[in-house]
């Protein structure tokens, strides 16, 4: 089912080989989804690194003879919902303990005023 296209992982990191390119705009969009932000300098570096990481991840698409359909035909079970335990109500941890890491918690979370 699988064929080797040489040393796939080595191919992915070979300098100058870009299996697919990712733009700075796409990185910015992803960062928004991931609730992260980058400075211009970070963005520059990150885009180059990320391009290589995606090329590496992309080897899963390159190496399957006959594309994904062949593997898709396999009866793969991605998530099992068998053998789940019954949903029993049990005591939970006390609130004051759970919130002991929140500085100055007095029943409310303190955040900076955002509407003037």
């Amino acid at each position: 089912m699988f064929v080797s296209s040489g040393d796939l992982t080595a191919a992915a990191v070979r300098k100058g080989v870009r299996i697919m390119a990712i733009s700075k705009t796409e990185i910015e969009k992803l960062a928004k989804l991931a609730k992260l932000s980058f400075t211009d300098e970070e963005l520059e570096r990150f885009t180059a690194e990320f391009d290589e990481i995606i090329a590496f991840a992309d080897t899963v698409n390159q190496s399957i003879e006959g594309g994904t359909e062949q593997i898709r035909s396999v009866d793969a079970r991605m998530v099992s919902f068998d053998d789940l335990r019954p949903d029993e109500v049990v005591p939970s941890l006390p609130n004051d303990k759970i919130l002991s890491n929140v500085e100055g918690y007095n029943g409310f979370f303190k955040v900076e005023r955002s509407k003037k």
Binding site: A12, I71, M78, L84
Partner: protein
């Protein structure tokens, strides 16, 4: 020769030494060596001494468990009630959990003495422990080299005799690879064999807690003490391993079928390859049957691992928003801005890279091409392992394609570092158990690790093969001089 858990347990019972004296010896050693090695990031000496006093009381009353009074360490991603647990990340700096992880609950009940929390890659993401916000731990065998990762501090603490044993976590090799780099034993149990309740999640379908120790027997004793199902971790299983794994170590390996897959040896450093081949010969000369087998899908294990682990990480790390615990940015304009700034300032570069990759492979348009395909290939890898274990009892492979990297060796790119996980990630993908045992040194004197992989819940056979090798191979690496001296 350093005393193992069993020998220490006898000395404690014979009153040759008390748990308090033993603990003090380790505290002295940590105070002396830890500033240089940085194996521990948080020390718990006061509670350790109190626990040691209680252990002495338990020993006096008789019938104490084997681990009673034995000083040990926990990786900084294993929750300890009221004791800092930070995953070596700025975003969790000063975080004190409000409950104990299941493994610590079990060990504490058995009289274990916790010396402190050990250094690690931030959120267990890395292969050198250099992404820790506290700075990297150093390899005690040569402080110009890394410990490996992500359980680098746990490996360094055991190697330098700053703990009798430690616990680590292994998502893609994070127990076995640092064990290999530091010349200690590291066991990644079967997925589900040990409860992960209280382990701060990275890749939930891959994470597993296991012991790092100075011998296979010690690793077996600790695994015996922490294994078992737990209804708070739905993936854990109460598998019946029999009475004690440590007791079945001495069984003969005659007739044991050992699989050797050429895929594990591609691109491996020649010094490592020759040491593993020598070890395979030793097994063969003692009656094991060597089977040459193939695992073709292993070629895809690395990208599959990084896709699945990062996808799960991007979801697991979504909870860090600076509201209920951990770091919060000092200045922001609104709730969204607060979360984004908190995460951007709180997470390190490698964690951000993995969250971004995970977000990418799960995003609309790429889900089928990456995440779903990786899950399907994972099934194929599982099938190949299942087929191999119909004819083999264990597989033997290198633990890592290289020995320890020099400090600050970043490689050409992050991907180059990912490649160093090539021998360990297939084991996590398949959920099978594996151990790393020292099998020699390279020309620079750095330890080499051999990996022995078993079928699901086949820890007894894995430990038996590893113990046989350890006992038969003679001295394969030099002793570490120093530490607690016990």
């Amino acid at each position: 020769m350093r005393a193992g858990i069993y020998e220490l347990a006898i000395r404690l019972r014979n009153r040759e030494i008390s748990a308090v004296e033993l603990t003090k010896a380790y505290i002295d050693a940590i105070e002396k060596l830890n500033p240089a090695i940085n194996a521990y990031v948080y020390l718990t000496f006061d509670t350790a001494l109190k626990a040691a006093e209680q252990a002495d009381q338990m020993l006096k009353e008789g019938d104490a468990p084997l681990l009673c009074g034995i000083p040990m360490a926990l990786k900084d991603n294993i929750c300890t009630d009221g004791i800092a647990t930070t995953c070596c990340s700025k975003i969790l700096k000063d975080f004190k959990p409000y409950y104990d992880a299941a493994v610590w609950e079990k060990l504490k009940a058995q009289g274990a003495v916790l010396l402190g929390k050990t250094n690690m890659d931030e959120f267990a993401m890395g292969s050198t422990s250099e992404t820790s916000c506290y700075g990297a731990p150093l390899n005690p065998r040569n402080t110009n080299y890394v410990t490996g990762g992500s359980s680098g501090g746990s490996a360094a603490a055991v190697c330098a005799n700053l703990a009798v044993y430690s616990l680590g976590s292994d998502t893609g090799g994070s127990i076995r690879q640092p064990a290999s780099f530091c010349g200690v034993v590291g066991l990644k149990p079967t997925y589900g064999a040990v409860s992960r309740y209280g382990l701060i999640a990275y890749g939930s379908s891959l994470d597993q807690i296991g012991p790092l120790a100075n011998s296979v027997k010690d690793a077996a004793i600790v695994f015996d003490a922490i294994k078992g199902g737990d209804k708070r971790d739905q993936t854990s299983v109460d598998y019946d391993y029999g009475s004690s794994l440590a007791e079945c170590l001495d069984r003969d390996i005659k007739g044991m079928r050992i699989g050797v897959a050429e895929e594990f040896f591609e691109g491996i450093n020649t010094e490592i390859k020759s040491k593993i081949e020598k070890a395979i010969k030793l097994f063969e000369n003692n009656g094991a049957v060597i089977e040459n087998i193939r695992l073709p899908a292993l070629k895809l294990a690395l990208p599959v691992y990084y896709i699945i682990a990062c996808a799960e990480a991007s979801s697991n790390l979504g909870r860090y928003d600076g509201i209920r615990y951990g770091y919060r940015t000092s200045s922001y304009t609104g709730i969204e801005d607060m979360i984004v700034r908190t995460r951007s300032e709180g997470f390190g570069d490698e964690v951000k890279r993995r969250i971004m990759l995970g977000t990418y492979v799960l995003s609309s348009g790429y889900y089928d091409a990456y995440y779903k395909k990786a899950c399907l290939i994972r099934e194929e890898i599982n099938r190949e392992f299942d087929a191999v274990f119909e004819n083999c009892d264990v597989l033997v492979a290198p633990t890592a394609p290289n020995t320890a990297f020099p400090l600050n060796h970043k490689g050409d790119s992050p991907v180059e570092m990912y490649l160093s996980d090539i021998c360990t990630v297939p084991v996590n993908i398949a959920g099978v158990p594996a151990i790393s045992v020292p099998c020699g040194e390279d020309s620079r004197g750095l330890p080499i690790g051999m990996q022995i992989i078993g079928r699901r819940f086949g820890e007894a056979t894995v430990l038996q093969a590893a113990h046989f090798y350890e006992q038969s191979a003679g001295k394969v690496i030099g002793d570490y001089e120093g530490g607690a001296g016990i």
